[in-house]
Structures are given as C-alpha cells and as structure tokens.
C-alpha cells in the first residue's frame, strides 16, 4: 500500500513541478509576445510616417514637374526671343539642391540647347527661302533699270522723261530694299562693279532714298580717290542705309550732312543728322547690330524687321569696313561714321574717268595745287581747274575714233592728259589768238566748244611727236598684273575665311 502513496506523492510532486515549469514558460512567452506587439506597432507607425513622407515628397516632385511644364519651360522659350524675361526657379529653394532638382535643371539646359539649334535651323531655312526670292527680284529690278535707262537715253520728251525719272527712282528704292533683304539673308550684294570714285558710291547710295534732296555731300577728298571694285557696292549700300536712318529720324526741313574726309587709316564718311537722336538703349542696340561679330538671326530683327542695321553689320563683317554709331552728332542727332580702310581704296584717274556729273566736286584742286594760279596769271584766259578734267576727257573722246581725220595731229592720248600739268609752260599760253584754231598745229580747222589751252597742246606735241594718235590703254607692267592677281587671291581667301558661306553656295 505504501507504494501507492509514494507513487501518488511523487506523481503529485512531479505534476506540480511540471505545472510550475509550464507556468514559467507560459509567462515568458506571453511577455515576448507583448514585446513583439509593441515592436510591430512601432514599426507600423514608422511605416506610416515614411509613407506619408514619401507621398509628400512625390507630391512635391509632381508639383515641381508641373511647375516646370507650366511656368519654367514656357519662360525659357519666351526668353529665347525676349531676353528680358526671367526664368523662374523651382517652387521650393531646397528642392533645387536635391537630386531631382538638379535633374530638372539638366532638362532645362538640354531644352535650351535644342531650342537654339532648332532656331538656327529654322532661321537658316527662312533665310535661304528669302535669299532665293530676293535674288530673283533683284535681278528682275536690274533688268527693269536697264530698260528705264535705255528709255531715258532714247526719249527726251519732258513729260515722258519726268515719268521715266520717277520710275527710275521708284525702281532704285525697290532695288535697295530687295538688296538689303538679300544681304541680311547672307547673300552676296548681287552686283559686280568696277573700280569707282568713292564720291560716286556715296552719291549712288544717296540716289536710292526718298529724301535724297535733303542730303548735302561735302567732298574733301583728293580727286581720284576710289574704291576697289568689290567694295563699291557694299559702301553704296551702307551709305544708303545710314542715310535712310538719318533721313527717317530727322525732320523734313533739316539737312543731312555727309562729309568725305581723308583719315590716316583710310577715308571717313561722316553722316550727321539734326534729328531727335537715339536714346542710350537704341544707340547700344544699333552699335551692336552694326559692329558685333555675332551672326544675325532674322528672328532678332523684330516685326516689322529692321533690316538696315543688320545689313550694315553683315557687310562690315564681310568686307572689313567699320561703322560707328556710338557718338551723338553735334547737330543733336546721330553721327554715323563709316571708315573705309586703306586696303579698300585705290585711285582712278579723274581726268580719264571723271566722277558722275551729279557727284559733288572735290573741294580740293585738281592736279598740283599751284596750277590754277599759274593758269590765271600766265594765260590770257583764266583756266578753271575743275574744267580741265572734263574738257580733257572730252578732248580725248573726240579724237579717239581712229577714223577721225584730225587725229594725226592730236596726240590726246592719256599720256598727254596725265602729263598736262607738267606741260603748262609759263610763256606759251600767251599765244592764244584764235580760240577756235590751235596755233602752230597742223590740223584741219574744227569746231571747238572751247578754247584749247595752246600751251598744253603745242608743248605736248613738241614733246612727243611720235605718240600714236589713238588713246592707248595704260601699259600694264608685270608687277601691276602680279599685284592685281595677288590682291584678288588674298581678297578671295579673306572673304572665304570670314564670310558666312551660306549665301555663296549656288542653291
């Protein structure tokens, strides 16, 4: 029986122990569970927190992107055409410092580059289109000009002539506009001229304007100051545009004064108007247009496009001319100075090829400065120096045709013309007895429009009895030819290297 009690007691004890042990384990696990619970709740909180943060950040980025699309990109696009427009930054300042902020800035930079390229491409396409059109128009207007001038020579009925003059002037103006548009679009000036007197180029520019009556040209250049052939038309265009600017901005009852003066580095053409002048901003814009080295875009010229200054800028770059608009005129308006440097100047014999009749005379005297005094005192008749050139040229022309019977006795070759001042001996001029017949000359009597300076003729005869009668072209030395060809080559090379080539491809 004892065994049963022992067994029961031990069993009870074991059970109690087990129960204790189990209770301890249970308690532990319960504690563990509650800890885990806490942890999970904490994590949930943090997760919610992070989630809401992420949502806020993504909202911010979305807002920035919307801002980029709605405000910043349009501003960048507008700024391309209107530089005063400010491009707004991101909505929040901190955003710019974050990764996405920097990425958006990269987007803007990329957009700018692409826009610039696209703008250039579109502009080039527009220029090419306009160049083609203006070139055709220009050629057509030149043909019209030929016809009009032919008609002017042919018909002299006053009413018809008046109409022809008016048409010619209209045509010149259209031509000027077409030419300027073509030049702005990168085309060549469209007309090859020969070496010409500078005053002719300036007067030619004057003739292309509506208000040409108001232009006064003072020519203080030595007679014969000329432009090399490729600079003639550019100078005429630049002068026309500067004069147009001056005439437009001055009142109708004021004059625009042009002075042609010799400077150390070339010839200065100064254009002064007595108009309202330009504000500092306008002056800056004008100076930038005429003197900057940046290529000009059509879309920069405004609406209606201001072509004149742009054309001047294009030409000064291509032909190494310089235009300055930065000083105000003493008359209150604008002073424009075109400097034609020495390498664009040449000399044309003012006797053999005098400037146009309408071109203002030089205030300087023809030939040697003491010649008029001599002529006045020695000859019975006062000799006008200015007359000498035209008269001698006329003389040369009359005798030039080889079939004229009296040419044998009239060695009015260019040699005689050019040496004329040297052959003005002091004593011979007094033999002026008959104005119509040259004394001591073995020619047939011929009608003369003027008294021949007998001294000049006779001594020229005596000095060169064997000069052939026909007017000869001046002898060309190998050095001359070499210099001319060399100049052509360097000129071509210079223009190719600097000029915008787009106008010169035959498209």
């Amino acid at each position: 029986m004892i065994e049963i009690t022992v067994l029961a007691a031990s069993g009870l004890a074991g059970g109690t122990l087990l129960a204790l042990a189990l209770a301890g384990g249970l308690l532990r696990s319960h504690r563990h569970r509650s800890r885990l619970h806490d942890e999970i709740a904490d994590l949930r909180d943090r997760l919610d927190n992070e989630r809401s943060k992420a949502a806020r950040a993504s909202d911010a980025v979305t807002a920035e992107i919307a801002h980029l699309a709605e405000k910043r990109i349009p501003a960048v696009a507008t700024r391309a055409a209107h530089p005063h427009v400010q491009v707004p930054g991101p909505l929040s300042v901190e955003f710019a410092r974050t990764g996405p902020g920097a990425a958006l800035d990269v987007v803007i930079d990329g957009l700018l580059t692409v826009m610039k390229q696209e703008r250039k491409r579109v502009d080039a396409a527009a220029r090419a289109g306009m160049r083609g059109t203006t070139r055709e128009i220009q050629a057509g207007l030149y043909r019209l000009q030929d016809v009009l001038r032919g008609l002017q020579q042919q018909y002299d009925e006053p009413e018809l002539a008046q109409t022809l003059f008016e048409l010619d002037h209209e045509n010149e103006q259209s031509l000027r506009r077409a030419q300027v548009a073509a030049v702005v679009c990168g085309a060549w000036v469209g007309l090859a001229r020969e070496e010409s007197h500078l005053v002719d180029a300036v007067t030619g520019g004057q003739s292309r304007l509506v208000g040409y009556h108001r232009v006064r040209i003072n020519n203080h250049l030595e007679p014969g100051t000329a432009l090399v052939s490729h600079a003639v038309e550019p100078v005429a265009i630049i002068v026309a545009e500067l004069l147009d600017n001056a005439l437009r901005h001055s009142s109708r009852d004021t004059d625009v004064t042009v002075n042609l003066e010799r400077a150390h580095h070339g010839v200065a053409v100064t254009i002064d108007d007595a108009g309202v002048g330009m504000s500092a901003d306008e002056r800056g814009y004008a100076q930038r247009m005429v003197a900057s080295s940046e290529p000009i875009l059509l879309s920069d010229l405004g609406d209606p496009p201001r072509m004149g200054l742009a054309a001047i800028g294009q030409l000064t770059r291509q032909f190494d001319l310089s235009v300055d608009l930065s000083t105000p005129s003493p008359y209150g308006g604008v002073r424009a100075v075109l400097l034609v440097s020495n390498h664009l100047l040449s000399h044309v014999d003012p006797v053999r090829r005098p400037p146009a009749a309408a071109a203002p005379r030089s205030t300087r005297l023809v030939g040697t400065p003491d010649q008029p005094a001599k002529a006045e005192t020695n000859g019975k008749l006062p000799v006008r120096t200015a007359a000498a050139s035209r008269a001698l040229r006329a003389n040369a022309r009359r005798t030039a045709p080889p079939t004229t019977p009296d040419t044998t006795a009239h060695p009015n070759s260019p040699h005689t013309d050019s040496t004329y001042p040297d052959h003005m001996p002091d004593g011979v001029a007094e033999t002026d007895t008959d104005p119509d017949i040259e004394p001591g000359d073995e020619i047939l009597p011929q009608r003369r429009r003027r008294r021949i300076r007998p001294g000049a003729e006779a001594s020229a005869l005596a000095a060169r009895p064997s000069v052939p009668e026909q007017a000869q072209p001046p002898a060309r030395t190998p050095e001359h030819s070499a210099a001319a060809l060399g100049a052509l080559q360097t000129g071509t090379a210079a223009a190719r290297s600097t000029a915008d080539p787009e106008g010169n491809d035959p498209r």
Binding site: Y142, D146, R149, Q152, Q153, Y155, D156, E157, P158, E159, A161, Q162, L164, F165, E166, D168, H169, L191, A192, R193, E194, D200, A201, T203, G204, Q206, S207, Y212, H213, A236, R352, R353, P354, A356, A357, A358, R361, L381, P382, R384, A386, A387, R390, A391, R393, A394, A396, R397, A400, P405, P414, P435, E442, L444, R448, R449, R450, R451, A471, P473
Partner: protein, 119 residues
C-alpha cells in the same frame, strides 16, 4: 572711248536735276546751241550744273553733245541748261537750220583737199 564706263552707272540721271525733267525753257531742242559764260562758276552751284558749265568752258556745244560728254540723258541736260540760262551763266541759241548747213559732201572734199596740201 577711253573714259567710257563699262558697267552700270552708279549715279542715276535723275539725281543730276533733283528729279526734274520738265525744263523751264521749253524751246530747247536737241541741237540747240549752248554757249558757256566766261569766268568762274559761282560758289554753291549744284554739281551737275557746274559740270555742264565746265564742259562748255566758255565755248559752244549743242545740247546733245553736252549730254554725251556728261553721260546724261538729253532730258536732264535740257533742264540743267535751262537753269543755267536763267542764272545767266549760259546763253542759248536755236539750232542752225538744216538748210543753212554746208553739204557734208562739200566739207569732205575741202577736208580731202587740205589733207592733200599737207602731204
């Protein structure tokens, strides 16, 4: 013609008269004779009138000859001549009638004779 310009003239004809082609004196014909005054041209004479005055140089030319020398159309020179005549710098004469001119044939014979004398 040594001095003849080969290209397109830079300065159009209308500039010489300031765009005027109707002369004050409508009697002027192509062969009217212009005789230049002696002395110097007054200061401030417009360039083209000055050029005409110079080309006459105190002698006589027909209108059309003066036009050829100045490389201007006859219509422009007519205006210039009328203006100079108004200023008293040029005197104008009606053209020599065709009938009063000696026959060209006769002139040629005289010229030939004189040339024969010289040789």
């Amino acid at each position: 013609m040594t001095g003849r310009r080969s290209g397109r003239p830079l300065v159009p004809a209308y500039l010489s008269t300031g765009g005027v082609a109707r002369p004050a004196n409508t009697e002027l014909e192509r062969l009217s004779l212009l005789t230049g005054g002696t002395g110097t041209a007054p200061d401030g004479l417009p360039a083209a009138r000055h050029a005409l005055f110079d080309v006459l140089d105190g002698g006589t030319l027909t209108l059309v000859e003066a036009a050829a020398l100045l490389e201007l159309p006859v219509s422009a020179v007519r205006v210039l001549a009328a203006e100079l005549a108004e200023q008293g710098l040029v005197s104008l004469r009606a053209p020599v009638p065709q009938a009063a001119l000696p026959a060209p044939d006769l002139l040629k014979r005289v010229a030939d004779g004189l040339r024969a004398l010289k040789q």
